[in-house]
């Protein structure tokens, strides 16, 4: 066995593998990048990924329709009930128009932050391991101003992640569900004045599979209600203020009885998101 394993050919194959890993390790330590080997491998597999991504997303949508049939049915019932309720109510058109305008204002990212520079990107592939939540986009240091930490959102100002690694022509984005993600946020409003309080929203391993993130260590004097909206606060300057993160779905006490945490459903299902933007530049109000 030993003679069969330690032959010249085996040693050459193992050496190539170790050499590639070593090059990546040196690149990671010296240049904080994924390195030329990863770059070349990504470039070679790019056509396959680009082609498969389109097919896969179509399959994904079909799969989601089947898998979530029951959920959709319940949702449909719920919506039908609310529709009937709404029809029976006397609708104050003026109030609705006003509310609509307010929501539009809230969502219109560019209007609220004219100094924000957005660049549209394409999702290349979702990660396939069950321990992290990341995806790759088709922008890197060679074809964009993207850098590590760049926020990633939809056109409506919904935060979906943050760039974690920048390659030559592609970058890795950790989603809001990943355990490495955390952001300072307001709960209940998009400004300090409107908000109920300031919290840290972060990814959690247990909730990642359910597509949720959490607000941990909630202050005792902070009253967070189910349905409250969570917005980035802009504190620390990592994210622009006012990006919508999600909605609180539950507030619970930890199993050990010490402290409360809230689970937050992201505003956008990342797997089905169509338009993705990187926020290259922004200014937070004083």
């Amino acid at each position: 066995m030993k003679k069969v394993l330690l032959t010249k050919r085996s040693i050459i194959i193992a050496s190539i593998s170790l050499f590639l890993a070593l090059v990546t390790l040196v690149s990671a330590i010296a240049f904080s990048s994924a390195g030329p080997v990863t770059g070349v491998a990504n470039t070679i597999t790019r056509p396959v990924r680009a082609l498969s991504s389109t097919v896969a997303r179509t399959f994904g949508n079909i799969f989601a329709s089947i898998y979530r049939y029951e959920e959709l049915e319940n949702r449909y019932e719920e919506l039908l009930r609310s529709y009937v309720r709404l029809q029976m109510d006397v609708i104050d058109t003026a109030a609705i128009v006003e509310e609509n305008e307010s929501l539009r204002m809230q969502l219109d990212l560019r209007d609220r932050n004219p100094n924000m520079r957005l660049e549209q990107v394409t999702l290349e592939s979702m990660n396939s391991d069950n321990w992290t939540s990341t995806f790759t986009i088709n922008r890197g240091y060679a074809n964009s101003e993207v850098r590590q930490g760049t926020p990633v959102s939809t056109e409506y100002g919904v935060l979906i992640g943050q760039v974690s690694e920048v390659g030559a022509t592609s970058s890795v984005v950790i989603t809001v569900l990943d355990t490495k993600f955390s952001a300072a946020a307001f709960v209940g409003g998009d400004t300090r004045e409107d908000a109920d309080g300031t919290v840290t929203v972060k990814g959690d391993f247990l909730q990642m599979r359910n597509g949720l993130l959490i607000i941990d260590h909630i202050d005792d004097d902070l009253n967070i209600l189910t349905g409250a909206s969570v917005f980035t606060s802009g504190l620390g300057g990592v994210f622009p203020s006012g990006l919508h993160v999600g909605e609180v779905v539950a507030v619970d006490t930890h199993a050990n009885g010490i402290g409360r945490y809230a689970t937050v459903r992201p505003s956008r299902d990342i797997e089905t998101v169509q338009n993705i933007f990187i926020i290259i530049d922004f200014e937070n109000p004083e």
Binding site: M1, V4, L5, T7, R9, S10, I13, A14, I16, S17, L18, L20, A21, T24, L25, S27, A28, A34, G35, V37, T38, A41, N42, T45, V48, R49, S52, S53, V55, A56, R57, F59, G60, F63, S125, M126, N127, S128, D129, N130, W131, T132, T134, F135, T136, E165, V172, T179, D204, F205, L206, M208, R209, N210, G211, D216, E271
Partner: protein
Amino acid sequence: MKKKSLIILILLHSLLLMVVYVFQGMIFPFMRLNGLVPLLLPTAAAGVALYEGRDIGGITGLFAGILCDISFNQPVGVFTVFLTITGLVVGALADTIVLRGFITYYIITGIVLVVSVFVQVFPFLIILDNNITIFTLLPTAIEQTIYSLILALPIWFFIRALGNWTDKLKG
């Protein structure tokens, strides 16, 4: 083996790896079952090594590892080395003391998948905190292994067919 046969052999193995990569890295991430994606490339690397021997196993492991790292959105490294060694060791075992067959394939695949899980959770084990404990990681690890083992079955048919075809070429 004739040069033409060798080229066809390389092409077929490359095709197998690419198809498995497309399923693991492109299709299943959009079709998560209970929030999980199965590991297919380690299964393919171990299977090919079992049926084709040390050299082809090692090379297949090398490329399967690179593709695995890419599909995890990680820099090329950890799985590249791990699957190369897996290919070489499983291939050497198959060349010497292990019989090629369905049961051996399943046992080896199971071991490789368990070690793969350990490789994946290793960073979490180093930085264990209050929210992430071994018991937090265990359900995902078990479910991922079972899910991957189920999908190892269809992969076996292709690997066995490829192995038989290679045997014919070798005469």
